[in-house]
Symmetry: C3
């Protein structure tokens, strides 16, 4: 089954690219290909012109469940970037590494449970033998007060 079909089956939609404020320019790329390696920039739970998750600190402004959903949406954005900027979703040979940052305070310890929202989706779509090595860590704050940020390295077929 194609990845797009699996997404549809789960009722999941890849959001459109994050809308960029007029006049804003970027000095980085959302994805860079080198040979069959692809580096994906840090993404968050954006949804086109808005945000698909509450802002703020997990454990304070969001529950772990809400943050799990934000991490899943973040992974959908990673997939959207891959598809729009590099190649089709079915061209992935293997996910190599994902790093997930959780916007959280000094008492928080459930980083893994939050970032599972991103990596569970990748597992469900690509299978256990293609999932990435992962690091899940805390950050005292993130750009735009996003609750999570996830980047990735993957190999194409």
């Amino acid at each position: 089954m194609l990845i797009r079909e699996k997404l549809e089956q789960r009722g999941l939609v890849i959001p459109p690219a994050q809308v960029v404020p007029e006049g804003m320019t970027f000095s980085y790329r959302r994805a860079v290909r080198h040979g069959n390696l692809v580096y994906i920039a840090g993404h968050g739970p954006s949804e086109g012109a808005g945000w698909g998750a509450p802002f703020g600190k997990v454990g304070v402004d969001l529950t772990v469940q809400e943050a799990y959903a934000a991490a899943e949406l973040t992974a959908l954005n990673v997939l959207g970037t891959l598809e729009r900027e590099i190649t089709g979703l079915d061209d992935v040979a293997c996910w190599l590494k994902m790093t997930g940052w959780v916007n959280s305070g000094p008492e928080f310890t459930e980083h893994a449970q939050v970032i599972n929202g991103a990596t569970d989706l990748i597992r469900d779509l690509y299978g256990e033998d293609k999932v990435a090595a992962r690091a899940a860590v805390g950050a005292p704050a993130l750009p735009f007060d996003m609750p999570v940020e996830v980047d990735a390295v993957l190999a194409l077929q």
Copy 2:
């Protein structure tokens, strides 16, 4: 001398793999090989069924010396994962990158001294010409309240 012999000479033991609570599944791999590149997930100072280091924040719950030992144990776990999941310890051509996160508060500045616990071990085992580029940074908290987390990228021969 084999890496295993160097470990023995130093009285160091690679702990068994971290025991996974029954029913728990993972959506990431501890190590992923692509060609001769290996990506190792974020590891901590676990020891089989338990933890080989005090929990908590370095500078508050642990001294820098205790955290150095925790980082060394973390590097032993990185080696254990490499050996159990990918290939023998002597097949490493070069360590490419290690990132070390230190669970610490806003006043802490000795991240390098802590993460040295991991990279000093790699240097002692593999030699100065094979050590990784490194980033050592703070995190306000880490999964399970681990004092340190370290991931790695390496090249096989």
Copy 3:
């Protein structure tokens, strides 16, 4: 135009390598080459024997503008390491990934604006089609109380 000429045109100078206190040894390398991949260690705004930026937390001890300048200086140090330890600045085929940590408190959200100081320089020197994927995140503290830390992966021609 050569990268060195572009730097000169902008009045920018790559600082000398950070002076290492006598007797201090390192268990990591500032840059590691594997094939045509280069991994650059986490760098900060050092300037030879001193520091070219105020210490401390962005938003408290430094303004965003000062931190932008610190990130630019950090990128100059990344270039200096590349040139001293691996190869000439004009041998870069493509910047693949940069991660930027901003030393900042829980209320800070302008991480992107700070790390732009590093990636804007890379864009100005190498062009938009060679810039890296990027992650910009917060850290509660950084080694030596540096305001920013940046690491990089790049491909050589």
